[in-house]
């Protein structure tokens, strides 16, 4: 299992600003992901955070808007850049392990972002 801490838990931001969300895991993990959960909607994968290299983004998400860092196997950041009200959402950090064959994902508590 894994314990995941996300900061901030919530924030209110002004249009045009940027916010960086941190994700800290209590153990080394192979896979780290960033999801967006918009009100009343399902979870949408933004990108896979790759340790020591550029993140892999899903269709509809670009690095300029959602830059991601992953300097080591326990930490990642997601930045939401040049925010607009449409970016108001919950952003979830998730981790998984390879080699265990469980296929399970573990989630942080999420960061609730409101853009005015």
């Amino acid at each position: 299992s894994a314990v995941i801490s996300q900061k901030p838990s919530r924030d209110i931001c002004q249009r045009g600003t940027s916010l960086t969300i941190q994700c800290q895991v209590d153990s080394q993990v192979t896979m780290m992901f960033w999801y967006r959960q918009q009100p009343g909607q399902s979870l949408t994968l933004i990108a896979t955070a790759n340790q020591g290299s550029e993140a892999t983004y899903e269709s509809g998400f670009v690095i300029d808007k959602f830059p991601i860092s992953r300097p080591n196997l326990t930490f990642s950041t997601l930045t939401v850049s040049n925010m607009s009200p449409e970016d108001s959402s919950i952003y979830l950090c998730s981790v998984g392990f390879t080699g265990t064959n469980t296929g399970e994902l573990f989630f942080g508590e999420g960061s609730r972002l409101t853009v005015l």
Partner: protein, 113 residues
């Protein structure tokens, strides 16, 4: 592409009663996993139960069990003896090895005292 459908946006159940949440999925994969995740009001999602597609036996975890119908691509969750702490959003999810997870839109379950 894989899709996961949860057709019940909201459900309620009396405490101690049994409730079944529905989930259907579409895939051409033969090897995959299915999951039910629970997201309480505190927002942290936790795994409730997991099913490997190659296993015919339905998974059970205490009061939680699934009805996995592979041919029908159906994966429902049954909660027995419902408790107040079961109040949460429940997400059905699909994943094939090495690929991303696909989540349904969720079912909001309220357990009524």
């Amino acid at each position: 592409a894989q899709t996961v459908t949860q057709s019940q946006p909201e459900m309620s159940v009396q405490e101690a009663e049994t409730v079944t949440l529905s989930c259907t999925y579409d895939t051409s994969e033969s090897n995959y996993y299915l999951f039910w995740y629970k997201q309480p009001p505190s927002r942290q999602m936790i795994l409730v139960i997991r099913q490997e597609a190659y296993k015919q036996q339905n998974a059970t975890e205490n009061r939680f069990s699934v009805n996995f119908q592979k041919a029908a691509k159906s994966f429902s969750l049954k909660i027995s003896d419902s408790q107040l702490g079961d109040t949460a959003m429940y997400f059905c999810a699909f994943a094939s090895p090495g690929n991303q997870f696909y989540f349904g839109t969720g079912t909001s379950l309220t357990v009524i005292p």
